[in-house]
Amino acid sequence: MSAPTTPAINGGKPERKVPPTSVRGAAMRGVVARPGQEAVEVKGWLRAHKWLLLRRASQLGVLALFLVGPWLGWWIVKGNLSSSLTLGVLPLTDPFLIAQQFAAGQWPYREALLGGGIVLAFYVLLGGRLFCSWVCPVNLVTDAAAWLRRRLGLKGGKAPAANTRYWMLGFVLVIAVATGSLAWEWVNPVSMFHRGLIFGFGLAWGIVGGIFFYDLLIAPRGWCGHLCPQGAFYALLGRASVLKVSADKRSACNDCMDCFAVCPEPQVIRPALKSVGQDHPLILDADCTTCGRCVDVCGKDVFRITTRFNRSES
């Protein structure tokens, strides 16, 4: 099992071979890491990108549903992620906006409340930040920035504290109260990007570009992982949701660090993978977006997506 050339990494436990392309292996050799390379070799490219592909399909599929109307005249969904009407019957509204409306002192019509309730129930039950990783179009931008950052081997940067987003969420509601309007929606890059794709951009490209370069050059995972108040809102919604990632084969972990490198919220992995402050292998932190990228890139198949009731370990 152990190779004499690799240094011991986990104390008294039997040594494990660290894949040379992994984050840890590359760091030892002083080259740019290719996280997930080992998984591709072991599982094949398709299986090593399963959740990523499903997620991109979901993100682009949602976008396509909104775009076939204005582009081709097939009106399946009208509106945008802020509020929409599907097939002329199903109203869906972003509960983040309804929360802001309440803060601004406005009571919306039944359609918006019903639509907001449906969306709220979905994310409360299944997983709050599923919105971030499976629906939100800004994720495409910040994932691209994170990918480029890894490929260019950019290190360092200064990200604000991860709980800044909860402060932001508080202030979004406070300025809604103070101005009596949906003040955040003037600048909210999330709704602005989606609306721009469907209704036209104006200068909104500047904000999207700003987020890309902020994530790429200044703060790794800066927007989605540290600042976005909408993500914070959905994280709060999903505190008791069902779908969770479990590190149920954590005994097979070879400390290659690839999951940490690709995870948009790397702080959520440690408690489950390394039993820090908890016994079970479930990632219960609400900041986890359940994107499943850790499942993909792990050559040892440590992770899988399961429910919060499944605390078993294999």
């Binding site: 509106g79 932001m168 300025i175 003040a183 602005m192 209704f199 036209g200 200068l203």
Partner: protein, 291 residues
């Protein structure tokens, strides 16, 4: 025992720095986020001043409430059959993502079923509006009397003809043309009681660039009513009689055989001497003219 002591001692020394760090970090974060929020709030306040040429859809709540209610979903835009409405983009001077239209480009066609209002899920467009003629998107104002063709004495009348509430919202008021002194001017006149602010007049105005008649926000277009000033003729109508009794009408000397206000001069009635009044240069309303 000594171990326990050690522990408490260690925790006793280790807690304050972490608390200090926590306080420092949260203060920094709160300060930064507060600054950002302040910026956003100020930007929002500043941008909430709607430019005069941007008109909200029918049934829109007053601007301040509208900005609290509209979620910028664009469902009203989608259900507008004439592509009148559009969502403001970042950089337009209208609040980002909110619906508006520019009357000079595409005016509101005043659909009877008001689909934009029906589509709004939040009530930013008030469903209490069921009769489109009751909507008040703005108020048309004949703003340029120097270039309006009717004011020049021509019979353009286009704004009057296209008005969906013709003869109520816009009427043609006949006036003497002092420049030619023998023609009439038919002046398009807007009545706020009936004007919906649809903007068809503004769009149709034949002037090549800017129109002479424009739909403006009511706040810009209209003064507030002088409540302290009682209009005698209205009081008279309400009371059924004059409140100060009948007035004596004094005869006008030298004009006994003429109707009141008739200033026409019959042949042979020419004034004995040429008046020293010289008409001003022609064009537009002559300020020297008196009825």
């Amino acid at each position: 025992m000594s171990k326990q002591l050690d522990k408490t001692e260690r925790s006793g020394t280790s807690v304050p720095p972490s608390r200090r760090r926590f306080l420092k970090e949260s203060a920094g974060v709160a300060g930064g986020a507060g600054l950002l929020a302040l910026g956003v709030g100020m930007y929002a306040k500043q941008a909430s001043a709607l430019p005069a040429t941007a008109i909200r859809p029918p049934g829109a709540l007053p601007e301040a409430e509208f900005l609290a209610a509209c979620v910028r979903c664009g469902l009203c835009v989608r259900d507008c059959p004439y592509n009148t409405l559009k969502l403001a983009e970042l950089g337009d001077s209208v609040a980002t993502g909110t619906p508006y239209f520019e009357a000079r480009k595409i005016p509101c066609e005043m659909c009877e079923d008001i689909p934009c209002v029906v589509a709004c899920p939040t009530g930013a467009l008030d469903r209490a509006l069921t009769d489109i003629e009751q909507s008040r998107m703005g108020l048309a104002v004949l703003i340029d009397q120097e270039n309006c063709l009717n004011f020049l004495g021509l019979r353009c009348d286009v704004c009057y003809r296209v008005c969906p509430v013709i003869d109520k919202a816009i009427t043609l008021e006949r006036m003497h043309n002092p420049r030619s002194d023998r023609h009439a001017m038919l002046l398009p006149t807007v009545h706020s009681e009936h004007c919906t602010g649809c903007g068809k007049c503004e769009q149709a105005c034949v002037l090549p660039g800017e129109s002479a008649i424009k739909v403006l926000p009511i706040k810009l277009a209209q003064g507030s009513k002088a409540e302290h000033y009682l209009r005698g003729w209205e009081e008279k109508e309400a009371a059924g009689q004059s409140l100060i009794g009948d007035q004596i009408e004094l005869p006008v000397r030298g004009l006994e055989d003429k109707a009141y206000g008739d200033t026409r001069v019959r042949p042979g009635e020419a004034p004995s001497r040429v008046p020293d009044y010289v008409p001003a240069a022609p064009g537009g309303l002559d300020s020297g003219w008196k009825p």
